[in-house]
């Protein structure tokens, strides 16, 4: 609780004719002893040393900076006191228009609604600071040991790189030896400049760097049994041939790779029906074992033939299912107790997504087989799109040089065994005519199915279950679904790399492994310092639970997007601060309001809401609208709208929130009992292509809207008074109209029945 606050008004950035002295006087009048210093400074950025002096001399524990948006210059204001901002520029003066909708031309003296807007914001700022305290440390004792799951190319790279950072490593491999899929690869595609030549994999060197490393402990024939705890302080139970081993672990790298797609998907192209049809992975193994006898080989990249046959069959099945009577739905209670069942997410898509690996692999192996046979083999590569992107084009060009390798675009329309050979029918080729190709062997692509699509890899001992949530959104890959932040998973402290995340060539797997090591190290060091990781990196606040009032309703444990909360048998939540990303979704969920952050809590936002002066005369003084805006995208969009001189109704009061997931229904009740006429929740897009920084926050908020509507109905307030709207950060030109549209709808509804009560 800040009790000695310094309030500073940045005259250079407060325009619009606002009576700044009056803002300051009113604040002091209202907050009395809480405000120890109140100053109007000509330019805030130049007053830093003065403020520091005030903090030292007066023992200020809070500083309130009134002027431009908090998104500017806050690197200048790193004070030894809590700092809060009042946005009087972008979201006040610059975005202000007159109540009648006309543009405001800045005058000597601000009109009353603008002065009132600014005054409300100043009071709200003091209230926020006054209800904010410095968090205690959430630091935990950590174990500087990284668990690497998977001893293939990616896992071996990760283990070695982590040990080179000075960390201990426990490497868990399911098979009896290290190396994974690369064991069966005769050679690698280019691993570095000049990116033209295939190269030895040197897998044995990579393995030796791990097995000969004192910092790395390897378990073979081993699998995860349980992962308990939190980043920095996990316990891993590992099932090994010598029984279960227990290891203290700091963070996890998931490099469990892939398994080959079920051959049934390629049956329409002859796989499994003829011994003369193999997959690329199988062909690599054959070449390694010198068992390739064929003289003419077709490498078929285009799998449309199988895809269409498979789609037809799937459609027929669907039809049959539609006719069958529906199974009775499980009752609610039963569903909750149901044991976890891993869904099998393997599909034909995995073959299509493996296009780069197969294009590059076929080029490589076609050349290898020609080389090995001293050009005694004729290889044909039939493709629809040769997907060799980027620098690997150089490799493609080189591989075209070999005389024994013939390539063409072709639609492969049929593959069948005729006598002692295979016939591949080709259409729409670059050679002018359709033709039938007679070969001794057909090589089809290998579908890389991520292990996470089929197995529970990590075995989390978490309240929300043993697996990563929502894997179906990403076709089973343990990917982040964020373009900018590829390493984030829904389980803090666990970073995926390699083909479990997406099908990658070996060079890309190595890069990916290194990146994952950095994130894994960063996460456990963050736990040691008690701070959050992405996206609220370095945030030292964390949720605190007042268990006395907890009713064990389990909402927080169920809704946390990151599964940070476990619970005991009674259902009392057990927080794991190092798993927490500090979004506040837990306290948004809590009906008893027992969860809070030291510097962000239910009471704080409630107090801010209560600071707004709501006029009793709706007709004359207009409605009052509360906007709870997500600080990640909506708030910056509002800032940019203001910067671009886009304006919105002066009846709105904006409060930034960490995530819409943190919006507690009590704030809506607070607003309604205060007399606000409407509440607008402005947050990120949700759905499959969500943009929510906390993945589920805006979606969860939307799900809660129904409960909110019911509550409002019970109170006799129309549920239309509360709306959630989605806004992307670049919709700054659209957001003012969204706001004004809502204000118009509320104005049409008339005043909140609670107004003035």
């Amino acid at each position: 609780m800040a009790e000695k606050i310094g309030v500073y008004f940045d005259l250079a950035n407060i325009g619009g004719g606002l009576d700044v002295q009056s803002l300051a006087t009113e604040a002091t009048k209202k907050w009395g002893d809480f405000i120890a210093v109140s100053k109007l400074v000509p330019e805030l950025a130049l007053a830093v040393t003065d403020i520091e002096a005030d903090i030292a001399a007066q023992g200020l524990d809070g500083v309130l900076l009134c002027g431009a948006s908090p998104r500017f210059d806050n690197e200048l204001y790193r004070f030894k006191a809590q700092v809060e901002y009042v946005n009087l520029r972008e979201q006040c003066v610059l975005s202000y228009k007159n109540p009648d909708g006309s543009a405001y031309i800045p005058a000597e003296v601000a009109p009353a609604p603008l002065q009132q807007l600014a005054q409300d914001y100043v009071h709200m700022g003091v209230a926020k600071l006054q209800k904010s305290s410095v968090p205690d440390s959430a630091a935990i004792e950590i174990t500087r040991r990284i668990l690497v799951l998977g001893g293939g190319w990616t896992g071996l790279t990760a283990a070695y790189e982590a040990s080179s950072m000075g960390y201990e490593v426990v490497l868990v491999e399911k098979a009896e030896k290290l190396g994974g899929a690369v064991i069966n690869m005769p050679e690698a595609s280019p691993l570095g400049p000049t990116w033209e030549h295939k190269t030895a994999t040197n897998l044995q060197d990579k393995i030796a760097k791990v097995t000969g490393n004192a910092k790395i402990k390897v378990y073979l024939n081993a699998q995860m049994e349980h992962l308990t705890g939190q980043p920095g302080a996990y316990t891993a139970n590992i099932k090994t041939p010598d029984g279960t081993k227990t290891e203290a672990i700091g963070s996890v790298i998931l490099a469990t790779g892939w398994t080959a797609l079920d051959p049934k998907y390629l049956e329409p192209m002859g796989l499994g029906k003829s011994s003369k049809v193999v997959t690329l992975a199988e062909f690599g193994k054959m070449l390694l074992n010198d068992s390739v006898k064929a003289k003419r080989i077709a490498f078929v990249l285009d799998t449309t033939l199988a895809e269409e046959a498979f789609a037809k069959e799937a459609a027929a099945q669907e039809e049959a299912q539609a006719e069958a009577p529906e199974a009775p739905e499980a009752k609610d209670g039963e569903a909750e107790e149901k044991a976890f069942v891993k869904a099998d997410l393997e599909s034909f898509k995995h073959l299509k997504y493996s296009n780069v690996v197969n294009s590059v692999g076929m080029l490589r192996l076609a050349n290898s087989v020609c080389e090995k046979s001293h050009d005694g083999v004729q290889a044909f590569i039939l493709y629809k799109n040769m997907t060799v992107p980027g620098i690997l084009e150089r490799f493609y060009k080189r591989m075209q040089d070999r005389l024994g390798v013939m390539m063409t675009k072709a639609d492969v329309t049929n593959i069948q065994e005729v006598g002692d050979h295979m016939v591949v029918e080709c259409q729409n080729t670059l050679l002018g005519d359709d033709f039938d190709l007679e070969v001794d062997l057909v090589v089809l692509p290998t579908g890389l199915v991520p292990t996470t699509a089929k197995e529970v890899t990590v075995q989390f001992d978490y309240r929300q279950g043993p697996d990563f949530p929502d894997l179906e959104l990403f076709d089973g890959y343990a990917d982040s679904n964020y373009i900018c932040f590829p390493y984030e998973t829904r389980r803090t402290g666990v970073y995926a790399a390699g083909c479990v995340r997406q099908p990658l060539t070996l060079d890309a797997c190595e890069v990916d492994a290194k990146g994952a090591v950095l994130k894994a190290v960063q996460c456990l060091e963050a736990a040691n310092r008690g701070v959050a990781v992405h996206p609220r990196a370095l945030d030292n606040s964390y949720p605190v639970f007042n268990f006395v009032r907890c009713t064990q309703c389990k909402r927080c444990t169920e809704e946390c997007p990151f599964g940070a909360l476990d619970d005991d048998e009674k259902g009392t939540p057990k927080p794991n601060p190092a798993r927490c990303r500090r979004c506040g979704t837990c306290f948004g969920a809590c009906p008893e309001r027992v969860i809070s952050f030291a510097n962000y809590n239910i009471d704080q936002i409630g107090s801010m809401i209560r600071q707004v002066v709501v006029p009793a005369d709706f007709k004359h003084d207009g409605p009052r609208i509360l906007i709870l805006a997500c600080e990640n995208d909506a708030y910056p969009a509002l800032d940019m709208a203001g910067m671009r001189r886009k304006t919105w109704s002066p009846y709105c009061r904006i409060i930034p929130v960490r995530c819409l997931g943190s919006v507690n229904a009590i704030w809506i009740s607070d607003a309604m009992s205060k007399g606000f006429d409407g509440v607008m929740l402005l947050g990120c897009k949700y759905g499959d292509d969500y943009q929510c920084h906390f993945i589920k926050g805006s979606e969860i908020c939307n799900r809660r809207m129904q409960n909110i509507a019911e509550t409002l109905n019970r109170l006799g307030v129309q549920p239309e008074r509360v709306e959630q709207l989605e806004v992307a950060i670049d919709e700054y030109d659209k957001v003012p109209a969204m706001i004004d549209g809502f204000v118009a709808r509320i104005t049409a509804l008339g005043p909140n029945p609670f107004k003035g009560m």
Partner: protein, 411 residues
């Protein structure tokens, strides 16, 4: 010995490397040549495959920078000299004058009163900019820059009394001590003037894919409306010329990785703005790596987007400022001559270092990509190494940050 890290380049790769290393507790100096961070990504309207706005990711990155006292951003700055060796480098950095204060001042009004204009580098010449400007609303640092050369005579009078503008500010040099270096100098669009068969930039309404991004951007020259630059009219027919410079020994001896996906994304922009627009894509291969196949399939399902496998031989001006292109349909073996309202050249990615100098001891290949440097504690990241998309650039940069940290750790 120093455990600080120098990151050269403030685009997405450089930002990522700098932030990731700093969040591990290392001092990082981020040196960016232009006035703001964000690089090429800041110019993009949307990312594939989700079509989300890049400014969202940049906003997070900038927030992480603002909150981290270990990151020292130097904009309008260039590395001009280096001495020492791995673990202890002395780097000389030249900082150009910005002529505006070292904190946020809103010069919007003053800027709007100025007259002098010059073609905007940021909008790739599609619009002009004033002498006092900020290229993007989410710019970081949030500071205007004053370019005295663009000031007209009357502008000089207008700014004369402005004590916040310092026309006398001079270029200066500083010296930094670092233990390792990440090079993330990124890429630039391949120079269309070199593509003489495709009009060399002289054919009206024949634009580059990056120019299309600017047209589609809400803060671009047309506030997001994709129109013909000559007459502001919505194009009814659009052709995309893939591999404009890429996969060509005379130009770029590699595939630029992103242009197929960028074009697919552009097809989605066009379909959203005007579903009746007829779009034709001329391609050699449609390269949609991995899960991006989904985007390819989505676009292939659009009724008004057509794909022709074949290289475009040339582009010339036709009547009504339309563009005529000659191409070959490689499957049918036909020569085609067709006219379009708008033609977009899917120009490739050229490493910035192909044409620029960097006084750091690293080798480059014939195309300008960095090769090696690791033994000297210098690690290249992102498109300075090879053409990549944003996700893979982030991976590459995170990996480079690891190597840079390993080099200085415990020093």
């Amino acid at each position: 010995m120093s455990n600080a890290i120098l990151v050269v380049g403030g685009g997405f790769s450089g930002l990522t490397a700098a932030i990731e290393a700093a969040e591990l507790g290392h001092d990082v100096y981020l040196v960016e040549k232009s006035p703001w961070l964000g690089g090429r990504v800041a110019q993009l309207n949307k990312y594939f495959p989700k079509l989300c706005p890049p400014s969202c990711g940049l906003e997070i990155q900038f927030q992480r920078i603002r909150k981290n006292p270990l990151i020292h951003c130097l904009t309008m700055a260039q590395v001009v000299g280096l001495s020492g060796s791995k673990g202890q480098y002395n780097v000389r950095v030249r900082i150009s004058p910005r002529h505006t204060p070292p904190h946020n001042v809103d010069f919007t009004f003053l800027a709007s009163t100025l007259e002098g204009e010059t073609p905007s580098e940021f909008d790739l010449g599609l619009a002009g900019r004033k002498a006092l400007y900020k290229s993007m609303p989410f710019a970081y640092p949030p500071r205007f820059v004053l370019d005295p050369e663009t000031l007209s005579k009357s502008d000089m009078v207008r700014i004369a009394g402005q004590d916040k503008l310092d026309l006398k500010e001079e270029e200066r040099e500083i010296e930094l001590e670092v233990g390792s270096i990440v090079i993330a100098t990124g890429w630039k669009p391949y120079d269309v003037t070199k593509l003489s068969n495709l009009g060399a930039g002289n054919v009206k309404n024949c634009i580059s894919n990056m120019q299309l991004e600017r047209l589609a951007s809400p803060f671009g020259p047309t506030q997001g409306k994709i129109v013909r630059p000559t007459d502001g009219r919505t194009p009814h027919s659009v052709a995309f010329v893939q591999c404009a410079g890429s996969r060509d020994q005379n130009h770029l001896n590699y595939c630029s990785y992103i242009c197929c996906m960028a074009t697919l994304k552009h097809c989605l922009y066009l379909a959203e703005q005007n579903p009746d627009t007829q779009v034709t894509v001329f391609y050699i291969d449609l390269r949609a790596p991995g899960r991006y196949v989904k985007v390819l399939e989505k676009v292939q399902a659009l009724p008004n987007v057509h794909f022709i496998k074949g290289k475009v031989a040339n582009a010339t001006q036709a009547r009504n400022d339309c563009v005529e292109i000659q191409a070959e349909d490689a499957i049918r073996g036909e020569k085609l001559t067709l006219q379009y309202d708008l033609v977009v050249l899917a120009t490739g990615m050229q490493p910035s270092l192909a044409t620029e100098d960097l006084p750091l001891p690293v080798a480059r290949d014939a195309d300008g990509f960095i090769v090696g440097g690791e033994e000297a504690g210098i690690f290249a990241a992102g498109c300075a190494v090879m053409p990549l998309d944003v996700t893979r650039s982030a991976q590459s940069a995170t990996a480079a940050a690891l190597k840079a940290v390993q080099t200085v750790k415990g020093r």
